[in-house]
Symmetry: C2
Subunit: 468 residues, 2 copies
């Protein structure tokens, strides 16, 4: 049995690891386009900031660790095309020669590529000019090379999503003056504006020059560095002169290989797979950022996250060996640290829930992370979204300070969502309590109780009267 996985990131490696774990007799080969298998892409901002001393530390596992599992890695090897009928993969080797790799089962994890927004000049300028995109280890080395060569005093970041925010912090930590430009009305557009504004304040507090409702329209090279033109939503002109420009406005699925082989695509152009991670092409499975995401509340969508790629890869690896497991589905749980704040979400926001056929209503509460009498208590802003009809929990968004256990509090909501709990049912959960770290009703429950008090107290009262 020969399993071939394409892609050295989360999905491909997870599939390979799971296959080797389940059946040490399976011959597993991973085809990796670059020389950096199993690197933590999410860790790049912390290498740029200087917090990670050496780029090699970003590897989840070393090359030797991976080989010790018995898998074979073919690095710097480009997967050119899939011969579905012949069950073989055409590859270009590091020396430029072409080759075929025969497989019994194939798992494709080609991932995503960064979106290139339509900014005049972006296609003609490149890393030598100090204009960067950031997604791969190759991009990382190009950026650190620019940082060393240019020694920038100022930088402009296009985009204020997760990577943009982490990079604003990372470049600021290097002593670079950062301007950040976001087209949408607030930074961190994955959360409600009222919560994103707290992140906005945190950026400003740390010296980042933030422009929301603003779009970068043109980049040009000038003697002093880079000249950036933009416009506000009102059409007012904006200009910046900086030493470095970083464009991080999201990703799109890298589907060329699978589409050429005949795979169908779905939302956002991602390859359609079922929950077993089957592509519909015989013996071809796919996982990670190149495929659609099964979401427990939304059905089929596209929501590329490393955590999801790990789970999908694991499922693909098991099923390729004859297993019959299903990817249980994403809830879109995510968290980001921005300076001393942490922002997290799971499940749906109101507009997403409405589009999915729910009748969402929301309440924001601000409970302390632990008992106020114990030193260091800080408020957490928690926005709960639930269905007005059924009372079902639909989503939670949290923002608070770094020590406030935000990322693991969102996990309680994620676990509750997994089990389709009602908002009021959260009060029944037996959560832990000690004054330095929580409250008798945890902040998680104080927020759901605030939602119930706003949206269901009349119904609760009515049910009493009826029973009496």
């Amino acid at each position: 049995m020969r399993l071939v996985a394409i892609g050295g990131s989360d999905a491909g490696i997870s599939a390979a690891l799971r296959a080797r774990e389940l059946d040490p007799s399976v011959e597993v080969t991973v085809v990796v386009a670059d020389a950096y298998p199993n690197f933590s892409i999410c860790g790049i901002p912390y290498y740029i900031s200087g917090e990670v001393g050496h780029w090699r530390n970003l590897a989840h596992r070393t090359h030797a660790d991976l080989e010790a599992t018995g898998m074979r890695l073919r690095l710097d090897t480009w997967a050119s095309s899939i011969d579905v009928a012949g069950q073989r993969l055409a590859v270009r080797n590091p020396d430029g020669s072409n080759d075929f790799i025969q497989y019994d089962e194939l798992v494709v994890g080609t991932g995503a590529v960064p979106v290139r927004p339509s900014i005049e000049g972006l296609d003609t300028l490149n890393t030598a000019d100090g204009v960067h995109l950031l997604h791969s280890m190759g991009d990382t080395f190009a950026l650190t090379e620019s940082l060393d060569r240019i020694q920038p005093k100022s930088a402009l970041i296009v985009g204020a999503g997760y990577v943009g925010l982490e990079m604003a912090e990372g470049l600021t930590m290097r002593g670079i003056r950062v301007s950040q430009v976001e087209t949408l009305p607030e930074v961190l557009p994955t959360v409600e504006v009222e919560l994103g504004s707290l992140v906005h304040d945190e950026l400003v507090k740390h010296g980042v020059d933030v422009h929301t409702n603003a779009t970068v329209t043109r980049l040009s090279k000038v003697d002093s560095g880079l000249h950036v033109d933009g416009t506000t939503a009102d059409g007012e002109a904006l200009t910046w002169d900086v030493d470095l420009v970083l464009v991080v406005v999201g990703v799109r699925p890298d589907t060329d290989l699978l589409v050429q082989a005949g795979a169908q695509t779905g939302p956002r152009g991602a390859v359609l797979v079922d929950q077993s991670m089957a592509t519909g092409l015989p013996h071809v499975w796919a996982a990670g950022d190149c495929v659609v995401t099964h979401h427990r509340l939304l059905g089929t969508t596209y929501l590329p996250l490393g955590t999801t790629a790990h789970k999908q890869g694991r499922v693909a690896g098991e099923n390729a060996l004859g297993g019959s497991v299903k990817f249980a589905g994403s809830l879109g749980s995510q968290v980001v640290k921005v300076f001393d704040l942490v922002a997290a979400r799971t499940g749906l926001r109101e507009h997403e829930a409405t589009a999915a056929g729910f009748t969402p209503v929301s309440t924001t509460a601000n409970p302390d992370d632990h008992k106020a009498y114990y030193p260091g208590a800080t408020p957490i802003s928690i926005r709960i979204t639930g269905d007005a009809g059924t009372g079902r929990l639909l989503g939670a968004q949290l923002i608070g300070s770094k020590g406030a256990e935000i990322s693991k509090r969102v996990d309680t909501y994620a676990t509750a969502l997994f089990h389709e709990m009602t908002v009021s049912g959260m009060t029944e959960l037996d959560l832990s309590y000690t004054p330095p770290l929580g409250s008798p009703w945890d902040a998680v429950q104080m927020a759901t109780q605030a939602w119930v008090k706003e949206h269901q107290i009349d119904a609760e009262r009515a049910s009493l009267t009826k029973d009496n």
Copy 2:
């Protein structure tokens, strides 16, 4: 409608608050034996340590806050007996006069009293001698009075459970040299010895002189302070000379009032109630540390915790008004901070699971709290217990450093236990990830995966072969 609640702590106040929330026309009276309604007993160690500046800050709500809800408080008022047939409560007023309070519904939350172990001299010595028990605000004032008067340089704590450990830290923070004596083989006996030993090490690291497998047998007053005799499990004599002795070896339910009224008792002598918190006596409900605990895995047991008292009180208050809610049951979720360590557990340990008819097997893993490449990563010791037959998750114990989000990680297990998840099913949970705060498979999942790898990998492999 007149609702009377007895007890100013978690259960009584929660019942009163819920009743006022649901029906502002209900006349609610709370009979409180002392002058400190709604004080956080769990916060006492942090007042003793000096971290809480004023004892008034320990109040969850002020007297004025409580009255603003419309409830009436009768402080320093002793509930002497319940006239069940006459629906009236006999009380002794602060001035010594006796009185009756008529009720339509009664909620009893008399709580617990500290256990007095059989130590020679304990009954003859008292707080004036520097010998203290610690449970109420009255005990707290007696202790601070002793601390001010004696200015102790040394103290001995009998017991190394939650309160004992918190007090070891609190007294150490005051500059007092602490000896701690625990009869059982390890401190924090609510967790496995291998995990309790980490807490033991933390105590020693901070200068606490810890004696396990040791029992205090005799206290005597001497010129220099207090002489303490004890013995090891091997019968070897131990002696200490200290300035202060604190005895904190747990609590027993305070049931006199209910038992005299005809209530039945169950495990550990606690008053029997059903999940609606009904005592079986007409119009008499009870909640909190005085009643048995419905446990989702154990059935009826006794497990007094503040979080449980809040939930039970809320249920009792609602049902007293004609509601039909049930206490969903405890999982024994609990957490304690000891210096820079946090220890938490939820669900069952092996011996408890065996007694409850399960076939428990356990695995301890030591995943990092977040990606090792980001500064400050620390290992968490996580012991997972699951059923060998069904694969059902039965319990989790965690110990790690204060910043490692232990208390909210145990909540993910608690939520999973609530929904009767299998250990392997935990891998499906969509938990949040960012390198400074977690891993693509969170530590919570790395630990459950380690359990699966040890106990179920053969079954997983077999199921593959069968399907092929």
